[in-house]
């Protein structure tokens, strides 16, 4: 199939995916705070309200619990809502609908209904939005069976995984790092999907595996370039989905390189990298480890407002370099 490939920003790729979803399936509609004429807190929905009308691009009141409840209810009755949160931090307000309703309904009703809702969460730090607007809460939702939780890192994946999420019969939670919205990358025109539950090897290497999520994939790739010049050949695995996790790809990579570094922005303790590292320790890859597993995660603190401190609380390229060099020497 010939699909022209353009350079689009991550935000444009998401907008295009939502437009295609609405064009191809009349059950699809958008909900969220200020997604209509304002175009969304991060301008992701843009002018979609002009193209599809206020009936399909619906501004909701400032109530995440109410909005999420309407979205879940609409999904149960056969529609395909895409609900946008202004900030992923506000997922906390909608936890009842996400955790107790969306994630449980198919199970508790013996499969009689499914909940094909998609929720989009602008996440992460780096915008100076301080402690209540900068968190990475993907591990919270990753802890709940019944949900699918994804973190696309590239415009290509943002579009393909959103379309896969819309087609999925179960609730899919998409965490989009705010600093990725303006990053650009090749995106084919038209409809395509990127499978949920499948990691991507972004760079092959033989000395060390970095399993990274979201924006950390790019930091890991940048570090890998520097490390290459130092003779350390890094493999970068973009996890893409944190539930269900693609264990096989990670295990095979660690079996090849014998060293594992997990890099994620969420708080280090009980975070995504904690799960990856425990999964590897329990797996057949354990016997291939030639150094202790290392995690680089967010600091055990709220995200500070001070921009220097904000940067210091999440892993940066120099942190990855230092950890990788140490691991290459045998680790701690």
């Amino acid at each position: 199939m010939d699909q022209a490939v353009r350079e689009l920003s991550y935000a444009q790729a998401i907008q295009e995916a939502m437009a295609i979803a609405m064009e191809t399936d009349e059950r699809v509609f958008l909900m969220g705070e200020d997604i209509g004429v304002y175009g969304g807190a991060f301008q992701v929905t843009g002018d979609l309200v002009e193209r599809f009308g206020a009936d399909r691009v619906i501004d909701t009141p400032i109530s995440e619990l109410g909005g999420a409840g309407v979205a879940v209810g609409a999904a149960v009755t056969g529609l395909r809502p895409i609900f946008e949160f202004q900030f992923s931090d506000f997922a906390t307000l909608a936890m009842e609908q996400i955790v107790n309703q969306a994630a449980k309904m198919r199970y508790m009703l013996g499969g009689a209904v499914s909940v094909p809702v998609v929720m989009r969460f602008p996440a992460g730090s780096g915008t100076g939005a301080a402690a209540q607007h900068s968190q990475s809460l993907e591990a919270w939702l990753g802890h709940v069976p019944g949900l699918k939780v994804i973190q696309p890192a590239t415009p290509y994946d943002a579009k393909g995984m959103l379309l896969a999420a819309v087609a999925d019969p179960d609730p899919v939670m998409i965490f989009e790092h705010k600093l990725l919205y303006k990053t650009k990358g090749p995106v084919p025109e038209g409809y395509y999907t990127v499978p949920i539950g499948k990691a991507a090897i972004r760079r092959e290497g033989r000395d060390l595996t970095i399993v990274a999520t979201s924006i950390m994939v790019h930091k890991a790739l940048e570090a890998a370039k520097t490390l290459e010049a130092e003779g350390i050949d890094v493999e970068v695995v973009d996890l893409r989905t944190i539930r269900p996790m693609d264990k096989e790809t990670v295990i095979e990579s660690v079996k090849k390189t014998s060293r594992l570094l997990c890099v994620y922005e969420g708080v280090k303790t009980l975070g995504v990298g904690a799960e990856v590292s425990a999964m590897i320790a329990e797996s057949e890859a354990f016997d291939f480890l030639d150094a202790p597993i290392v995690r680089l995660g967010g600091a055990e603190t709220p995200i500070p407002y001070n921009p220097d401190l904000e940067k210091a609380t999440v892993p940066q390229v120099p942190d990855i370099l230092a950890a990788a060099r140490s691991l290459a020497m045998g680790g701690r």
């Binding site: 290459e228 010049a229 130092e230 003779g231 014998s258 354990f286 016997d287 150094a291 045998g330």
Partner: protein
């Protein structure tokens, strides 16, 4: 908890040792640092101090028997600390058999089964050794005891490379009981198999050239496989050199005798004889690639007065080497067939000057020379593997040692230089291949001059 007194590893090759004499007896009170016993290996006798203060109990390491390294030979109990019940005591097989039947219920079948339960010495479990899971698995697959392998990782952790090194090395002499090693005419520094030297007479001096005359401590240069002493000249063009500079041709290379040395020690013998003949005193020894392994061997043997050692992209730090390069390089006879291989030597092929290619080509035209080198390649790099190891030698050196590598080395991976002893300095040049002395000639020359001026 009582403190365990173990049979320590006092020698790189040591798998077992013998206690020749206990200085204290069962029940003696010792202070930390007091002499406990003397151990004897093939090479040395050594006195071992108490690791803690207290009372010596459960002495199980009897004098004169082979004991695996790491095995508990006694315990030190703190004052007032309860001693362990006799059945838990670490003891040799005989008392176990005596004690247990007495304590066991009188079931007829039990005594017959007991000998199997007794620990089968010397198959000591390796659980106390710090090692990575991968190292454990590889050692188990190779039938090696982890505690007999020197760990190069953090806090002495045994890593994959250590096990691979141990697999590549022959069984240590200590594990061959009673049979004395054949006496050889020269002392050995390496643990390689050393067939008797093929030469009947003394070591033949090598071809050499003083590339610079000068005052002060000389720099002695040993080139790599397939090169010759002229390969150092590009580096000398990089800046003024005030130290005397002696370059040697390896056996089977340049103007040296066309022979295939038996092993690194044989080459080291030739180097030593040449330095002695030239009356070279305290020197900085520099080796590139295969010449690095030679230089390390010379330094470790201690016959030549080596005060510092610089190894440029040295061989002997790991098993992997670019076998295709070795074969292709030796076989190539024309500029067309040689140049692609020469490109692998460097990260930036712009440094492959016409004179460099022509000089290499001139050597390729000498069929006898290339035949000798093919033999040398087969002997030292059989099947694309470095069959020798200098890691152990470096660990024992008491002189400044620097290793200089290019991060993009396509002949010997730069990662092999990781995990060296902490006192060995490592210089890694980015965007540099197997010949830092050519591609980073100014910096490498500066490093060598720094070392020789100390």
């Amino acid at each position: 908890m009582p403190v365990e007194v173990i049979l320590p590893k006092v020698d790189m090759d040591m798998a077992t040792g013998r206690i020749s004499r206990w200085y204290v007896g069962e029940g003696a009170t010792v202070k930390k640092g007091d002499l406990l016993f003397e151990i004897e290996t093939d090479k040395a006798a050594m006195e071992i101090d108490a690791p803690a203060s207290g009372t010596i109990r459960d002495i199980s390491g009897k004098e004169g028997i082979d004991i695996p390294v790491g095995e508990a030979v006694a315990w030190i109990y703190a004052e007032g600390e309860a001693t362990k019940p006799a059945k838990d005591a670490v003891a040799d097989a005989t008392p176990v058999q005596e004690v247990v039947p007495a304590a066991a219920a009188p079931v007829a079948a039990a005594p017959a089964a007991l000998p199997e339960l007794a620990p089968a010495n010397p198959g000591k479990p390796s659980n106390g050794t710090r090692a990575t899971p991968l190292a454990r698995r590889l050692a188990a697959a190779a039938g090696l005891q982890l505690d007999a392998i020197a760990g190069s990782g953090p806090r002495g952790r045994v890593m994959r490379s250590d096990v691979e090194t141990a697999i590549a090395a022959p069984a240590p002499a200590a594990s061959v009981p009673a049979k004395p090693a054949p006496i050889v005419s020269r002392p050995s520094a390496s643990s390689q198999p050393r067939p008797a030297p093929q030469r009947s007479a003394g070591a033949a001096p090598l071809n050499f050239a003083w590339l610079r005359q000068g005052e002060g401590r000389p720099i002695v240069l040993i080139h790599g496989f397939g090169a010759d002493l002229n390969s150092w000249r590009p580096m000398l063009a990089a800046g003024p050199v005030d130290a005397p500079l002696l370059a040697l041709d390896l056996p089977g290379h340049g103007g040296s005798p066309r022979q295939t040395p038996a092993d690194l020690d044989a080459i080291a013998c030739d180097v030593e004889a040449t330095l002695a003949a030239l009356d070279v005193g305290p020197a900085l020894l520099v080796g590139h690639s295969f010449g690095g392994a030679v230089a390390a061997t010379v330094a470790a043997r201690g016959h030549a007065d080596v005060r510092a050692l610089a190894l440029i992209a040295p061989a002997g730090l790991g098993p992997e080497i670019n076998g295709a390069f070795l074969q292709g390089f030796v076989r190539a006879k024309s500029e067309a067939s040689l140049t692609p291989w020469l490109r692998l030597l460097v990260a930036d092929e712009a440094v492959l000057s016409k004179p460099f290619v022509n000089a290499t080509l001139a050597q390729a035209a000498d069929a006898e020379l290339r035949a000798a080198q093919a033999e040398i390649s087969d002997r030292f790099f059989a099947d694309g593997t470095q069959t020798f190891d200098i890691r152990g030698l470096l660990a024992a050196l008491r002189m400044p040692v620097r290793v200089i590598v290019g991060a993009n080395d396509r002949i010997i991976p730069a990662s092999q230089s990781l995990g060296l002893p902490g006192e060995v300095a490592l210089h890694v040049f980015a965007a540099t291949g197997h010949m830092p002395q050519v591609e980073r000639r100014e910096q490498v020359l500066k490093i060598l001059l720094e070392m020789v001026r100390v």
